[in-house]
């Protein structure tokens, strides 16, 4: 019983890790070895040529910078809207039962459903192929998730503290800014990280709304790789790892917030 349990766990951990390990080893194999052998570990020694070529052939830093700009702008906008909205939903029952469920309900729709109207809107206001345009769309896409998560964190804040502050003459905004926000700071951090990662990874809207290096993000960069240079798997692996690394670092630093936020928001 004991042995079989660890066998199962070991197998599943292997299943999880092998693709990631394979990505690392592929990026370090020689291009010839990649073409002839699918072994997990490099047999002919370690080569850095894939990394050099990945950065030389494709403007990776450019894609990553665009991703960062879009991610930061969209996350800030999402939090600026979702924080007061979730506060109003939780504390004043704004919109009754209908509005919160409507907002959460929009999460059900696949992104493709709003792609045409979003494209038309962005074109008419001249934000196609602009980081700001993509950031706006990511904000809209992430609002339900952010509102959902923040509502959950707001529920825990005791109303008495806020009432006490209001007695002392603080306005609603004052209470939100000076009392509630500091109290739910871990929740805000968790929400911000999840919004950042969602924006960083998002593909469909980036595909539709960006055409040039002015706004193309990292996922588009990876998909371009496949088109232009045939399938240079070593380079693709190196490039993909470059874009994965920031996400993993972020997750490592904020692991506790992230797991906390995910499990709270997910279950309730």
């Amino acid at each position: 019983m004991r042995i079989s349990r660890w066998t199962i766990v070991g197998l599943l951990l292997g299943f999880t890790l092998i693709p990631l390990v394979f990505m690392v080893t592929t990026s370090l194999k020689s291009p010839i070895e990649i073409r002839i052998s699918g072994s997990l570990l490099p047999a002919e020694g370690i080569f850095w040529v894939n990394w050099e070529r990945a950065f030389r052939n494709v403007p990776l830093p450019n894609y990553l910078l665009n991703s960062l700009i879009v991610g930061v702008i969209s996350t800030v906008m999402t939090l600026l809207i979702a924080t007061p909205v979730s506060y109003a939903f939780v504390r004043f029952q704004a919109g009754g039962r209908f509005l919160p469920s409507w907002i959460l309900g929009t999460y059900i729709a696949p992104p493709i459903v709003i792609s045409v109207p979003v494209f038309m809107l962005m074109r008419s206001i001249g934000l196609v192929d602009r980081p700001l345009g993509l950031a706006l769309v990511h904000m809209v896409a992430n609002l339900p998730v952010a509102t959902w998560m923040l509502m959950d964190f707001m529920r825990v804040v005791p109303a008495e503290i806020e009432e006490a502050a209001q007695m002392d003459g603080a306005s609603h905004w004052g209470v939100l800014l000076r009392i509630v926000t500091p109290l739910i700071l871990p929740g805000l951090v968790a929400t911000a990280i999840i919004c950042l990662i969602l924006s960083w990874n998002e593909f469909l809207f980036a595909l539709i709304l960006t055409y040039s290096l002015r706004s193309q993000t990292f996922p588009i960069g990876i998909s371009e790789f496949q088109g232009e240079h045939g399938l240079q798997f070593g380079e693709i692996s190196a490039a993909a790892l470059t874009g994965i690394l920031p996400v993993y670092l972020l997750a490592m630093f904020f692991q506790r917030y992230l797991i906390h936020g995910l499990t709270r928001g997910g279950i309730k």
Binding site: T16, P19, L20, G38, S39, V113, V116, F203, Y248
Partner: protein
């Protein structure tokens, strides 16, 4: 006080819906919307379109398939690792990685894993004698779908695992103490206590995964581009092709409206199911 924020939210959720409805009733191209009013022609075309009906079928197969497997494995793994130990903490950290990895990067590496000539899977399966010769995992209808689903399972089972751990952590102690006094076996405890108490939570996780899996686009775009033939052409991908490669936005909008209706019915049914389970087994 929050009126502006709420109005923004409403605008962004209502505008696409109204705009899609209007587009769906018109003959529209991407460059020239609203050329003529055609009433429900786009809808009758969509319903008659075998590719569209097929894409909805594939989406449902994909979503229900991966959800069932991810839920069973994820919850099972949580049961096995539901103790505070080094292994459990390690699994928890590791479990975060797959679903925060950019799907495009995931697809890129899985393409190499599946590669017919130099892929990892062929390399080891042939060596182990399981396969006689290399197989084009993404090139055979049916098998291609299973291969794409496997990547989804890789990516999202850890998510189900992490959420299942949270469900297990919220279980009360008393029933187990009572069962131990009565001499119930671990299996009896699992069937009569753990499973019923976990059911509402697990169902919510499964619904979340189902909603997520219905959105699949990136993996299909990167791994198979809908092929071979149309054997992995899920709805999101088909609508993308019609709208942004064939530029038939009116037609695509009618399909999105139908897709929304199908999804709404499905999710309403599932939430009804959840309510009944909650009433029966919930606190």
């Amino acid at each position: 006080m929050v009126l502006p924020a709420i109005l923004t939210l409403l605008f962004f959720s209502l505008y696409p819906l109204i705009y899609s409805l209007a587009l769906s009733l018109s003959d529209s191209q991407l460059a020239r919307p609203f050329r003529a009013f055609v009433a429900f022609k786009n809808y009758s075309d969509a319903i008659a379109d075998a590719l569209f009906r097929g894409s909805i079928g594939l989406t449902l197969i994909y979503a229900f398939g991966v959800t069932a497997i991810e839920t069973v494995i994820g919850f099972g793994l949580a049961l096995l690792l539901n103790l505070e130990s080094g292994a459990s903490r390690f699994a928890r950290t590791l479990g975060l990685l797959p679903f925060i990895t950019p799907p495009v990067a995931i697809a890129a590496i899985w393409r190499l894993i599946y590669d017919p000539s130099s892929g990892l899977l062929n390399h080891y399966l042939v060596r182990a004698g399981i396969l006689e010769q290399n197989v084009a995992f993404l090139g055979i209808p049916g098998l291609a779908m299973v291969s794409v689903m496997l990547v989804d399972i890789w990516q999202w089972t850890p998510f189900v695992f992490l959420l299942s751990l949270a469900v297990l952590a919220s279980l009360p102690h008393e029933p187990y103490e009572a069962a131990a006094v009565d001499g119930a076996s671990p299996w009896q405890q699992f069937i009569h206590i753990t499973l019923p108490l976990c059911l509402p939570g697990i169902l919510i996780i499964a619904i979340l995964r189902l909603i997520g899996a219905m959105k699949v686009f990136d993996l299909v775009f990167m791994l198979t581009f809908g092929g071979p033939g149309s054997s992995t052409q899920v709805s999101s991908f088909y609508i993308y092709k019609v709208a942004f490669q064939q530029f038939k936005t009116g037609y695509a909008s009618a399909m999105t409206v139908i897709l929304i209706i199908v999804l709404t019915i499905l999710v309403t049914l599932l939430i009804g199911l959840y309510r009944r389970v909650q009433q029966r087994y919930g606190p």
